[in-house]
Amino acid sequence: MPLPPTPLAQVEPPTPNLLEPNVGLVFWTAVVFLAVLWILWKYAWGPITDALEEREERIDASMTKAERALEEARQIQAENEKNRREAEQEARQILREAREEAEQLREEEKQKTRKEIQEMQEQARADIEREKENALSELRSEVADLAVQAAGKIIGENLDENRQRRLVDDFIDDLPRN
């Protein structure tokens, strides 16, 4: 059991105290932490978070851009398609119009030719008529003259010129036409 304490006895080392206050440690920890905070704030977290943000923005931007480009491409494609269709339609229309025009032109030409032919025919007919008329009247006066001469010769006596002529004319009038 306990021996009488001796004045020069060795002392039992104390059990460590886990909650021991230590101002020095607090001071050092604070200094170290503040130093780390400052260094990292300035040289690490700042650049890193900036870089991350920049990258995120870039990714975001490029995705938007890609989407926009896709949209644009789609639009352009649609436009091209539309243009092509329009061009085709136009070509078809032009072709049709040309064909119609040609048809019309031909028709007109035909019409004109026909009309000309008709006119020519009519003119010819009129000419013929007129010539015939002329020829007839000439023939008539010739016949009258001949008849008068013949009658004079036959009768031997000069009849009154005018009376004779009227007689002949009446005679000729009595003749069937043509």
């Binding site: 304490p5 060795q10 780390v36 040289y43 890193i48 978070t49």
Partner: protein, 442 residues
Amino acid sequence: MAAAVPVLEPAPAVAQETHGSEAQAHGQPDQTHGGQQQGGHGNDGGEGGHSEEENTGNPGAVSHSADGTYLNFEPLGIVELPRLFLTSPEDGGIGFDAFASTKAALKSDAYTLAHPDSAGASLTHAQVQEALADPHHDYLYFTAQKAGAGSILIDFSITRHLVAVFVTALLLIILALGVARKYKRGVGREEAPRGTWQNMVEVMIVFMRDEVAKPGLGRHYKSYLPYILTVFFFILIGNLLGLLPWGITATSNIMVTGTLAFFTFLITQFSGTKEYWQHTLNPPGVPLFVKPFLVPAEIIGLFTKPLALAFRLFGNMLSGHIVLISMLGLIFIFTAQFGTGVGVGSIFVSVPLTIFMYVLKLAVSFIQAYIFAILSALFIGLAIEEHEAEHHEEEATGPQPHDDIDDFMDRSEHFGPKDEPMLGGDGETKPTGQTTLSQTAG
């Protein structure tokens, strides 16, 4: 690994028959001096029998986790750390003493030792010499004291936990600056991040930013993000350091965790808005007779939040280490109690359990760093976002007491970019908030 040695020692103490065995537990060759210790403790009243009982527990585990002015590389040896003292000499003024080691300080005869329980009564010269001669560096466990007149104002000595803080800081700076250099060079800025290291760090940074800072701090998150990141990585590296062989866990020291929590406290109070102070000191919408009860509670609440931060981290890291060592120590205790056979048999239980605990501690290292960071963010967010949040509340349900943690956990979801709801906030933030809530309450 180093723990195995101190753990081995208490085994005889389990028998607890004589004081000699207790002395032996601390490696003291002279058994007759055990009585002196008993007498010395008797002076402290309740402390008397206490130390005996304590030694039946596991002083190895405790001293392994405790701070000290040495680095324990047992069995390779012990490295003493420099002692720096801010003193108040007898002729007044302020003095500063620096020694390469405790031994040097004692040998200079300017300093002596005292038992921390003895209320400043220093050891005799012979006792100090004996402690110096001790092969187990007993003198390292005593409190240093100025010999003769004068006293130590502040002990600025480099302790092992401080060394861990230094190493943590150094590792963090190397890690962060290394990664930052990559970003500056354009990797990760103009192209995809490359390499395990950068990707790992980036994942954590982005997680901290999107899941901790943004939901907790809202629109002003940018000015607080560096602090949140630093505190997270500092604690994380500090926690992980303790898992290495001979590693020291700085975060298992209440002074270190307290300092970190103190910064959160300072930032919270200094960035507090007018509304925050108004709600703390003169809560609106509260009946007048309630105020005398509510306001003191609010003021106490200002301090309990960071205090809880400090103790949570400290307790988690400390308990993990003590459990780890105790589990390994079981092998030696069983050997001493039941013989070698049982001891060897217990290896097959103890070692898998220890490995399991180790993995658990690995997880806890991350979780605790995360919890510290997210709670810091929430506390600061609570102080800076009061105004807006209150308006939302008033529109919805009328004024509510703002110290309700549940309430602000919910509110944290409404933070973030002003008009668009936080992405992932619904899924992620709330469960986390509830976990931390239960921890805060407990």
